[in-house]
Amino acid sequence: MTTPPTSPLPVLHALRLSGFAAPDRVAEIAGLDEPTATTLLGQAQADGLVMERNGRISGWLLTKDGRAAHATLLAEEVAATGALPAVEEADSGFLALNEPFKELCSRWQLRPDGSPNDHTDPAYDAAVVADLEPVHERVVAITGTLAQALPRFGRYPRAFAAARDRLVAGDGSAFAKPLSGSYHDVWMELHQDLLSTLGRERSAVDGH
């Protein structure tokens, strides 16, 4: 089954994963061009599923109805594909990486003495980036395999690689700066994606 082009699911899903995003990020996560994403957001807004926030911080988020609609639509999609076992396997592989990855984020942000990492020690930063490499390889493998069962997961290997490439090229914000397509952003999106696809809420097993 293919999702009809007018289904709000791609944009609802993008907002469920990112929590809050501007149209360009919605388009990127949903794999749409920006005009299409904007049109779908407008339709979903008319249906009371999403809302736009302007002010100190601008972007779109789901309404309560939007969350419910998202859960229903997503469950239908997953049921139609029969991909649940593949998602469950990916989820357990992911959870094994979650804590190590969060620790890498902390190491990137804090020196061992607890002071903020001011990124003046290239050797220290290089060691953290080097330690990200095995995690990167595994998460790319996990999502690549999952994409064979559920193609929309195919964006993760690309998104992780893009963040990693920026990082290796010297853009330190690509590690964990929020709402910027950073490695941590993509990681949190993947985590939410697995949970939503499995119809689960976050629990202690998933970390805080």
Partner: protein, 518 residues
């Protein structure tokens, strides 16, 4: 030449040509340590022998090495003579401990089988000799349990009743050999095999230790800390490993064996208690500690057992220590004429990282609590002190027109838009790698996480007793360094003291080292 002479199996007091502590590749870390303690330091170590690391490699390549049975038998005969007891003697049995010991310390391998040599006959002998049936049967029960879990790979069923009943039940359930020589061979082989256990392999992969190194096996006469009222066991540091204070620091457990202390299952006594219970053993222990410190020229960590009033040293190591202690110890040992640590040696022990940590810990300790009246304390996850109006959900933060502190049980991507416009974050659950911590640091927002005594509700934050601590709309202050939370706006009046003044007062050793390292 006999097979024994050609195989690397050595008594602890074997006269090696090289100082034993440099022989970790041959003897393993534990075997090298025991040889060093026995032959170089002259410590009262229970005697024994070490099966060298090359024999583990030989075993892994082509099975049980030819001649090893004979080599073990020859060493065992020497050990029996020295102890005046024989393995398997039903009247007064020698018991041994079998331990693994790789060239580098490696958790995940078979650790220890104690009381090896007990069987249905010798347990009666031990009961008679010690005059304590419960002690003998309890030792047998411990042996059966350890042998089952570590050698046979079986988890025995729980048992109840007297020590004799419990051991007998285990005996019936488990297929543990009765012949002490077979027990010994089984345990040695299990140590060899444990080199390739999944946990050991995982540890090596993580620590970058070569997979073909292999491990040594030590076989050592048992002494009994649980033998009578004049017996006990403990661990002691030559100085306080937390503060660096120059005074032995440790735990003592009367009438007990080593794993009781390590497992933390029993309440331990202090060294002062030991001094009043076993004054002579305590005096000898203190004297040995001073000698050991001079030998290693560092803080030492010693495991010991007292059997019928007599002190045995089981293990010595250079002790682990906290950052503040590392700074104090290095400064003190440079000034101590008996040790006279050189600045280069001190520098090797006190890295920049340790210096920075000691500095931060000292400043945090001085400033924490400097402003009275903190209503909660969590983990300082992202540094900085900030005041703001409490909001309890992300939308309220996004709608606010003043400086707000977002207070949540925990955060998720659904909160990110509110976090981005807050001046600070406070959560009641989660640690330093939680979503809240990572995002807050990503935006340089002060954050306190895991303030566990707070219960975040829909309109107010309560303590665990249900009393409101503060509500939405109240102003609070958080300190992302110390983890403290106050009601209202708090300014740091602490201290007219600067960082430098606090350090000069609380950790003057830092300046001593800085001068020496110049």
């Amino acid at each position: 030449m006999s097979a024994t002479a050609t195989l690397p199996v050595f008594a602890f007091d074997h006269p090696h040509e090289t100082p034993p502590r440099e022989l970790a590749n041959l003897l393993g870390g534990k075997g090298a340590g025991l040889a060093e303690m026995t032959s170089v330091l002259g410590l009262p170590v229970p005697p024994g022998f070490t099966i060298g690391v090359p024999l583990c490699r030989a075993y892994r390549e082509s099975g049980w090495p030819a001649g090893l049975d004979a080599a073990i038998a020859a060493q065992l005969a020497g050990l029996e003579e020295r102890m005046g007891r024989r393995l398997g003697d039903p009247a007064d049995p020698l018991l041994v401990a079998v331990r693994s010991g790789a060239p580098r310390s490696m958790p995940g391998m078979l650790d220890t089988v104690l009381n090896l040599g007990l069987n249905d006959e010798t347990v009666e002998g031990l009961a008679a000799v010690s005059g304590d049936e419960d002690f003998a049967w309890d030792s047998y029960r411990r042996f059966l349990t350890m042998y089952a879990t570590t050698v046979l790979g079986r988890v025995p069923s729980p048992t109840t009743g007297s020590p004799r009943e419990r051991a007998t039940a285990l005996r019936r359930e488990l297929d543990v050999p009765q012949d002490p020589a077979a027990q010994l061979r089984g345990a040695v082989e299990a140590v060899f095999r444990s080199w390739d256990s999944p946990r050991a392999q995982a540890y090596r992969a993580r620590e970058g230790i070569a997979g073909d190194l292999g491990t040594g096996v030590t076989v050592q006469a048992m002494v009994f800390g649980n033998r009578d009222a004049e017996s006990g066991t403990g661990v002691v540091f030559s100085r306080d490993p937390a503060t660096g204070e120059n005074r032995p620091y440790g735990d003592f457990l009367p009438r007990a064996q080593g794993e009781d202390v390590v497992a933390g299952t029993a309440r331990t006594l202090t060294l002062a208690d030991m001094a009043s219970l076993l004054p002579e053993a305590h005096r000898e222990l203190t004297g040995r500690l001073a000698l050991l410190e001079r030998h290693y020229r560092d803080l030492c960590d010693v495991e010991f057992t007292v059997e019928r009033g007599r002190l045995f040293i089981l293990q010595t190591r250079v002790g682990k220590r906290g950052a503040v202690a590392a700074v104090r110890l290095a400064a003190a040992m440079m000034q101590d004429p008996a040790i006279a640590l050189t600045p280069a040696e001190a520098r090797a022990r006190v890295t920049d990282e340790v210096l920075a940590r000691a500095r931060t810990e000292t400043l945090t300790a001085a400033r924490q609590g400097a402003v009275a009246g903190a209503v909660a304390r969590g983990l300082g996850a992202s540094p900085g002190r900030v005041s703001g109006t409490v909001v309890l959900d992300a939308d309220a933060a996004a709608d606010a027109t003043t400086d707000v502190i977002l207070v949540r049980p925990e955060t998720s991507p659904a909160d990110v838009h509110g976090m981005g416009v807050s001046v600070g974050i406070l959560t009641s659950t989660g640690g330093l790698v939680s979503h809240a911590a990572v995002v807050a640091r990503g935006w340089d927002l002060p954050a306190v996480v895991g303030a566990g005594e707070l219960v975040v509700g829909a309109d107010a934050v309560r303590d665990t007793a249900g009393e409101v601590v503060f509500a939405a709309g109240d102003v609070i202050t958080i300190d992302g360094t110390t983890g403290e939370v106050w009601r209202g706006t708090v300014t740091d009046t602490t201290t007219d003291l600067s960082d430098a003044e606090i350090l000069a007062r609380d950790l003057p050793e830092l300046a001593v080292l800085a001068e020496a390292f110049r």
